[in-house]
């Protein structure tokens, strides 16, 4: 169970960033009063263009940054990821291609290392390792330095290591980013499997097809605001379209018209 309640996050922009974003405003509201819920056994997708605020929201959930206001509640106990971040971290896992592993080490070493940081005993670590290494075919590379492995294998190891503590909640920023079709399929298949095991899963993506295929419910985010939340069918119905991409453009157009700006 994951509850995002009125999360707002503002960044102060440096001069360089202001230029890059082509704005004279010193502040950027990356997440603006965002609320949604994700149930166990569900994959929720944040869909939005570049710079919409997807990563910012996922970082707030995963305790890497603190929202200016609002709260994120986690699990049956409703632990606040904002106020009890250390405790919350034990229940969740944040996966992204931005979070890397130190590639000087072997998968085996890294798995044990992170297992210990999550406070697990050796037995549990070993049990989880068997399961995940089998799942992703890591066993034969268990003692090879990560630096010597392919990008796809690195990504699989990354996922395996992030799941060392068998977390309730899995947060995945751009799950198939930079992966070939085969590796991407391994990953999405595994996400389905985790969903069927009853995990609470939230992913972000700007790829319409992926959102349509992978997610049970989709939240469309534009300029830091959640514009529409629902199942694929609900979104298509309310926009009178048959295709998620068309639906997205209609919503995007509405937003820009409301703001009085051109496309």
């Amino acid at each position: 169970m994951l509850k995002v309640k009125n999360v707002t996050k503002t960044f102060r922009l440096s001069k360089k960033q202001m230029k890059l974003e082509n704005t004279t405003n010193h502040h950027k509201i990356a997440a603006n009063d965002v609320s949604f819920e994700v149930e166990p056994g569900e994959i929720f997708g944040l869909l939005g263009p570049n710079g919409a605020g997807k990563t910012t929201i996922l970082r707030c959930i995963s305790t890497l940054i603190k929202p200016d206001s609002g709260d994120v509640l986690i699990g049956d106990e409703m632990i606040s990821a904002v106020n009890e971040d250390n405790k919350a971290r034990g229940y969740l896992s944040f996966l992204t291609s931005e979070l890397k592993l130190e590639d000087h080490f072997t998968p085996n070493y890294l798995f044990n290392f992170f297992g210990r940081l999550y406070g697990l005993d050796d037995e549990t670590i070993e049990k989880n390792k068997q399961k995940l290494f089998n799942q992703f075919g890591i066993n034969e590379f268990a003692e090879v330095k990560v630096s010597q492995l392919s990008t796809g294998m690195k990504q699989k190891i990354s996922i395996a290591v992030s799941l060392v503590h068998d977390p309730e909640i899995i947060i995945f920023d751009e799950p198939t980013n930079g992966l070939d079709v085969l590796t991407a399929k391994t990953v999405t298949d595994y996400l389905f499997q985790l969903r069927n095991e009853g995990k609470t899963i939230i992913v972000s993506t700007h790829i319409m097809n992926l959102a349509a295929k992978l997610c049970d419910r989709i939240g469309i985010i534009i300029d830091g605001k959640l514009r529409m939340v629902g199942t694929l069918d609900e979104i298509l119905k309310s926009t009178n379209t048959t295709d998620l991409e068309d639906a997205f453009f209609i919503i995007f157009k509405q937003v820009k018209e409301e703001e009085g700006g051109a496309l």
């Binding site: 970082r59 890497l64 940054i65 979070l99 890397k100 080490f105 290392f113 290591v161 992030s162």
Partner: protein, 409 residues
Amino acid sequence: MRNIWTIVKKELTRVFTDKGVIISLFILPPLTIYLIYGLMGMSAEKANKSANEYTAIVYVINAPDKISSNEKEAASFEAFLDENLEINANITYEDSNKLVEIKTKLENEEIDLIIEFPSNFKETVENYIDTLPKVNMYYNINKTYAENIYLSFQNTLTLYENKIAGTRVDLDLLKVFEIVKDKTGDDEKEKGSAISKILPLLIVIYLMAGGMGIGMESVAGEKERGTIATLLVTPIKRSQLAIGKIISISIISVLSSIASFIGLLAVMPSFAKIGGDTEEGFGKISYDLTDYAMLFTVMFAAVLLFVAIIVVVSTYSKSVKQAGTLVMPIYLLVMGAAFFNVFTQDIPQSISSYIIPIYNIVLALKAVFQFELSITNWLFTVASTFGYTIILIFLIQKMFRSEKIMFNK
């Protein structure tokens, strides 16, 4: 505690499974220290040997005759020199009227030394006149062995003074004359020869350099590569992560310094040879256990402070490159403090000098090498350095908790 240890173990594993890092941290520094100072020691020994073979050209003005008092006699200066001088010298005896001409020769570096007795030396000494006669010694520092020759003659003159004093009944008047040293030539040269002054500089450079590479890698590098974020989503506390990093970098830095220290120990005996200016000094300068203990503790405190400084910069930076850019001015500042010390002659003894961060380290190192570090000043150096380090550790922990610093794009 377990988390901190897990981090420390990981960092140490990282370093000790990397051959390149092992060589650059633990093998190269002591080796270069050993080679540089070993070579310097060797060439100093060689210089000393050829100094012994050199025949000094010396002029003595108004050399006194036999001096007698109370029916006891001291031999003439000439006879005394023949008997007591320990170096080879070609000595010419002249009157005062030749002095100007001879001084020109000295300035032209044709001769090595002039000893000038006052013309009334014998009378003054024999009659116990109150004012001590002045014996002037002139030498040109630009000449290769001038300092050595001067010191040999100064020793001989002191012996001569004792001899004359021996003729006296009145033992209160042991001081018979005063030796006035008058050297010409470039003074910087003499300072340059005292290599002991450069050693603190070198040590400081090694100590800081030892922690710099891994210090920048271990935080800024992890930020740059995105591996620290992976740690930040685990339940480890920010402060534990920070402490783990500091401890491991310190351990590696200290080990690297111990390696350098061993190189230093191996080369200390020949270093003493370089430091000693006189023949007498050769091989006689030796550091005792207290000196080594003070040296080591100052080095230890210095390493921890340098590590803390480097980690602050490294944590603040977005990339190793930026950390390098930011740490450079600090490194130069440290080197500046050390350089400044090379060219200052005397060692201040006031406590206030020994609480100035970094400067006090260089000062204490220099003082140890010249046997002038008092226990109090040592204590203040070490204690204040630990104090600064603790302040920086608090700062680092604060920085680790700041998302602006840990997630700046």
